[in-house]
């Protein structure tokens, strides 16, 4: 079965090709069904192929397809191991649900089939990323998901803001990719290949006589981290993700919450062998994650756009995952990636249903009371809300608490990171409760001519399924039964992992974080369930404008990076290039012409003058020879 795993990639790719050429002929909803069918079939195949891992019978296999760039050790070769299996199942599973949802959400859009083309292409690209058996293929997927992200964010590209957001996403990602590229240069120069089985294996290092200095590994891992911060929207390269909400909501759910943005976490988990050797890098990963988590959560407190709150929340939750892989809790990081994919996709799809029902209104200040109009959506969102703030026994509780407990268990400076994580949990409870209260609870604040309604079946079904998973998936890896840890064991062979502290400590910590979440939720509930004109600030009556404008980072980046950059370009183009360099070239030409003009009178046209010149020259030469002596 495993040798056919390439079909998992080929199906959505085939779907993209078919939809690209025949999509408009297929029309609605068949184009969507084709897209859904391809991803659904890929999920089924992946699930069957993953059975040996569940039975503990396989440690993973390489599947060689064909040579790509042989000289770099970058073949089209896939790695089917538990880690890639988890990722593949999340991508195809949630992907299929979101395809289904999109059939309803994109109903009537002129770009219906184009949307599914891109979506299928994205699934294929993301699978290349997680299934690639070398850094080359990983980078291929890495860039292709960036392309799909660009295409889907700027899907409605008649809107200048959407086009600009897509471009911004791609370019900010490319900044990270430069770091990634440099990391790959170092890796290739050090190991002579990009293949995982050489780069990520202690035995292979011994065989090939590779000695890794700490400085070198630290440089490699830090550069990989730069790549990761771009794709996973961590500080300082997070700015593109809030703007990415310009894309259709299913895109936000699939790409900008569940799958693509977790690529950085996956990449760090995949290269755990290297990060393990570079404690400094790991500590930086953890710190970046913790700080990002708090930073983004604080911004989410004052956003009014229903999707922007979730966007900042995603950045914040990705911060938790970075914290986890930074402290060496790779399983916990992947576990949170896994649970977050479900409940965040659920929340995004729910807000999509709301936007749909509210005729494209996205301001939660002008919602409220939607509970009655959309009871099913509301129920699913409550599940998602409880999951993300970490209430027992919802999925987020298990994964987030594991991260916090492991961080606490590391002790020392990690107590600070734990405290930041806990504070973030409090803020998460506040802003998510604010989000759900302003949207669904209290009195209605929208215009009377709006008549919100429950979403159609294709949209509600995925919501219900995801809500179910948001409760259930947490039990895959509880402290009593760490099944996921066993499942992933082969993927992290030889990597020393951080574990939960012994004894009662985890239980106390769990109680503390649940308590914090309850306090935060209760406070926000009191503050925001009120009717009528709503005070949107979390505390007091202040304007909170700095937070609302996301600390004006975009403004600062524009002022200190974009504008000077453009000025440099202008200077280069219109001063250095046009005036200095081309000026020198044209100046030389002018100089030659001027010299010609000056010498022109010598050609008088009188033959005898030339003759006289000849004679004079000859005589001169003779005199010269004579003066030197003829010998």
């Amino acid at each position: 079965m495993t040798e056919f795993i390439w079909i998992v990639i080929a199906l959505p790719l085939l779907g993209a090709v078919v939809l690209h050429f025949l999509g408009s002929r297929l029309g609605e909803p068949r184009a969507g069904l084709v897209g859904f069918g391809m991803v659904g079939a890929a999920f089924v195949i992946a699930a069957i192929a993953a059975v040996p891992f569940f039975q503990g019978e396989s440690h993973g296999e390489q599947v060689f397809l064909f040579d790509w760039i042989e000289g770099l050790g970058a073949a089209a070769s896939l790695l089917w191991d538990p880690l890639s299996a988890v990722m593949t199942l999340v991508i195809t599973g949630i992907g299929a649900l979101i395809h289904l949802y999109s059939i309803g959400y994109m109903h009537g859009d002129p770009g219906f089939s184009r949307f599914f083309t891109y979506l299928n292409l994205f699934i294929a690209s993301m699978l290349i990323l997680v299934l690639g058996d070398n850094f080359g293929l990983l980078f291929v997927g890495w860039e292709l998901v960036g392309l799909c992200s660009y295409l889907l964010i700027s899907f409605w590209n008649e809107k200048p803001s959407a086009a600009a957001a897509g471009k911004k996403a791609f370019i900010v990602n490319r900044i990270g990719d430069v770091g990634f590229l440099i990391a790959l240069m170092l890796i290739f120069t050090t190991f002579g290949t990009l293949a995982f089985d050489v780069v990520l294996s202690h035995e292979a290092w011994d065989v090939n006589g590779i000695e890794l200095g700490v400085g070198l590994v630290t440089a490699i891992t830090l550069l990989l981290l730069v790549g990761g911060t771009g794709k996973s929207a961590q500080l300082p390269l997070y700015m593109w993700l809030p703007d990415a909400m310009e894309g259709p909501t299913p895109v936000s759910a699939l790409i900008h919450a569940a799958t693509m943005v977790t690529a950085g976490v996956y990449m760090i988990a995949r290269t755990a062998v290297l990060f393990e050797l570079a404690p400094v890098s790991s500590a930086i990963v953890a710190s970046v994650g913790a700080v990002t988590a708090l930073f983004a959560a604080s911004i989410a407190l004052k956003q009014r756009d229903i999707k922007r709150v979730l966007a900042y929340s995603t950045i914040s939750q990705l911060g938790y995952m970075f914290l986890a892989v930074g402290v060496g809790a790779y399983v916990a990081g992947i576990f949170h990636l896994f649970t977050h994919a479900f409940f965040k996709a659920l929340l995004f799809l729910g807000s999509g249903a709301v936007i749909h029902a509210m005729a494209d209104e996205q301001d939660i200040g002008r919602m409220g009371g939607l509970r009655k109009a959309m009871p099913v959506t509301h129920m699913t969102q409550v599940v998602g809300w409880l999951a993300i703030i970490g209430i027992f026994p919802f999925a987020g509780f298990w994964s987030k608490d594991e991260i916090l407990a492991v961080t606490f268990g590391k002790g020392g400076g990690y107590y600070v990171l734990w405290a930041i994580g806990l504070l973030t949990a409090l803020l998460t409870a506040v802003y998510m409760t604010r989000w759900i209260a302003l949207t669904f609870w209290g009195e209605k604040r929208y215009a009377d001519d709006l008549h919100p309604h429950e979403a159609p079946g294709t949209m509600v079904l995925p919501l219900i399924v995801l809500a179910g998973f948001s409760v259930g998936v947490g039990f895959w890896n509880t402290p009593f039964l760490p099944s996921m840890e066993h499942f992933l064991e082969p993927a992290f062979e030889g990597v020393e992992q951080a574990h939960l502290p012994e004894g009662l400590v985890p239980w106390v910590l769990a109680a503390v974080s649940v308590g914090v979440a309850v306090v935060g939720a209760f406070y926000a509930y009191r503050r925001y369930r009120g009717a009528g004109a709503v005070e949107l600030a979390p505390i007091g009556k202040g304007s909170w404008s700095l937070v609302e404008e996301a600390y004006r980072v975009d403004d600062l980046a524009g002022r200190f990076i974009v504008s000077p950059g453009r000025a440099v370009s202008n200077f280069m183009a219109f001063v250095v290039d046009r005036d200095v360099i081309d000026g020198a070239v044209n100046g030389l030409a002018t100089a030659v012409r001027t010299a010609g003009e000056r010498l022109r009178p010598l050609q008088s046209g009188f033959v005898r003058q030339y003759g006289l010149g000849l004679v004079a020259g000859t005589v001169g030469l003779l005199v010269w020879f004579a003066s030197r002596g003829l010998g």
Partner: protein
């Protein structure tokens, strides 16, 4: 044995002669006749690529004859992994260029004759293994290009054509001096003058002499590439040239420079190549970053693509002077890739210019809505040019960057930022031309591409994908020849100590 290579060179000449004799009244048949000849050459080139033995570093399809024995000038042709794909690229782009010549409305005969002579010259340059023969073709090809720009070009065509011609001719003077010096040197060392490349490889050239000769050759090639700061003829030539002129210029002519560096400078002057590697790499990296920065703010889309060429060609030079198998392979395949993607970009720019007669980015906006196929193709090509993995541009850049790091770490890291800048100038241009509201009345009635235009693009798109996904056939053919060059340099030259440490 059938003299395939000779036929490839002289068939277009015959074609040009036949086209020139078409009566003026029937000049409309010039285009199909020219296309027929170009297609024949393409078929021959395809056959050469197909039957080329890929594990072999030596020259294949060799033809040899004496032209003038006392001076050692021979008619020596051959193809190896370095020239093979460039020959194929030339033969591939020529029929596409001819098909895209709908905008040529006058002097069809002369135009087609010039195109065919250009093809003959280009193929001759890549196939010559005698330096005098090489030089003759190197110069011959200037003449048709001069006329293509100067007669069928834009408003400042005479200025641009003259600048192009003079600039290149100045470089050629240095090249000629170097070639003659080499011939004389052969006469001293071997007893008989020779310009045969394979004979000259056996010369023992003292390092100081190597440096002078290297500089002479390198100036000629640097102007052709063009390497910073010899690049300013390029934007002018591109902007004024007709679409086909730009396609051939960017697609093939620029590669003469990089090809010359790889073919002559490295094997003939190995010590000087090592000594000057730092300088060449520095110029290449400056070109990469500088070209990209300048491209960002160009108001004219054709100028933008022209400056992007300066940036992309820098990668080729960087890979060349990495003097590693990966870097050089990357450089060679990047030549082909740049020819395909930039050729495609110029074709697309030409198509929109034919409709609106303006190249100013600010005259457009939101035209994706009325020209979706065009927008899709442009975006596709732009991403190929920006080095998106899975498309061809990436393979070369990736090989160059990874292959160059060991010997030029700082320069290679700087070059990596060129990848970022490429995304900025291409996507920003795309944003301004294609997205947003279509609010200019002149742009609302634009017609999407017709069947002929799509037909022109299809083979390019197919090659862009093929070389991106499965470059193995190409890399296998390049590999041995490039490996031989690297080996030659490493054996013949004293490498700096830090290089020895960097490559185990």
């Amino acid at each position: 044995m059938f003299p395939t290579l000779s036929v490839m060179i002289w068939l277009p000449v015959l074609g040009a002669a036949i086209v020139a004799t078409i009566p003026r009244k029937r000049s409309e048949i010039a285009l199909p006749v020219g296309l027929g000849f170009a297609a024949l050459v393409l078929a021959l080139a395809g056959n050469v690529v197909w039957t080329f033995v890929s594990g072999d570093a030596d020259f294949q399809f060799v033809e040899q004859a004496t032209i003038y024995a006392p001076w050692g000038i021979t008619y020596h042709l051959g193809v190896d992994g370095i020239s093979l794909l460039l020959v194929a690229l030339t033969a591939f782009l020529m029929p596409i260029g001819i098909l895209a010549s709908a905008s040529v409305t006058e002097r069809h005969k002369e135009y087609m004759a010039a195109m065919l002579m250009l093809e003959a010259g280009l193929l001759g340059v890549f196939l010559s293994l005698d330096l005098v023969l090489f030089f003759v073709f190197f110069e011959v090809m200037l003449v048709p290009m001069y006329f293509i720009i100067g007669i069928w070009g834009g408003e400042r065509r005479v200025y641009a054509a003259l600048k192009f011609f003079l600039y290149t001719a100045i470089g050629s003077a240095f090249l000629l001096a170097g070639i003659i010096f080499l011939g004389a040197m052969a006469s001293d060392q071997l007893g008989t003058p020779s310009f045969d490349y394979t004979v000259l490889l056996a010369l023992d050239i003292p390092p100081s002499t190597q440096r002078w000769l290297f500089v002479g050759f390198a100036i000629a090639f640097a102007i052709k590439i063009p390497l910073f700061p010899f690049h300013t003829w390029l934007p002018d030539a591109h902007v004024e040239a007709p679409t086909v002129g730009s396609v051939m210029l960017a697609g093939v002519l620029l590669k003469l420079g990089t090809y010359g560096l790889i073919r002559f400078n490295l094997p003939l002057f190995p010590q000087a190549s090592v000594d000057f590697a730092g300088v060449m790499v520095a110029l290449a990296v400056i070109g990469i970053i500088y070209g990209a920065l300048v491209a960002i703010v160009q108001p004219d889309i054709k100028r933008l693509v022209a400056y992007s060429s300066v940036s992309h060609l820098g990668f080729i030079v960087l890979g060349t002077f990495a003097l590693s198998a990966q870097g050089l392979s990357g450089g060679v395949i990047q030549m082909v890739n740049h020819g395909l993607t930039t050729g495609a970009l110029f074709l697309l720019v030409g198509m929109i210019y034919d409709r609106r007669h303006t190249r100013q980015i600010s005259d457009y906006g939101g035209i994706a809505r009325v020209m979706p196929i065009f927008a899709g193709l442009f975006l596709f090509t732009a991403f190929a040019s920006a080095g998106l993995p899975g498309l061809n541009g990436f393979v070369g850049e990736f090989l160059v960057l990874l292959g160059s790091y060991a010997r030029h770490p700082a320069a290679t890291i700087t070059a990596a930022f060129g990848v970022l800048l490429a995304a900025i100038y291409l996507l920003w241009a795309y944003e301004r031309v294609f997205t947003g509201p279509n609010d200019k009345p002149e742009n609302q009635g634009l017609k999407d591409l017709n069947a002929r235009e799509i037909g022109i693009m299809v083979p390019l798109v197919a090659m862009i994908i093929f070389l991106g996904v499965y470059p193995k056939p190409a890399l296998d053919r390049i590999g041995p020849s490039v490996g031989a060059v690297v080996e030659r340099v490493e054996n013949a030259a004293v490498l700096p100590t830090e290089w020895e440490a960097a490559t185990r």
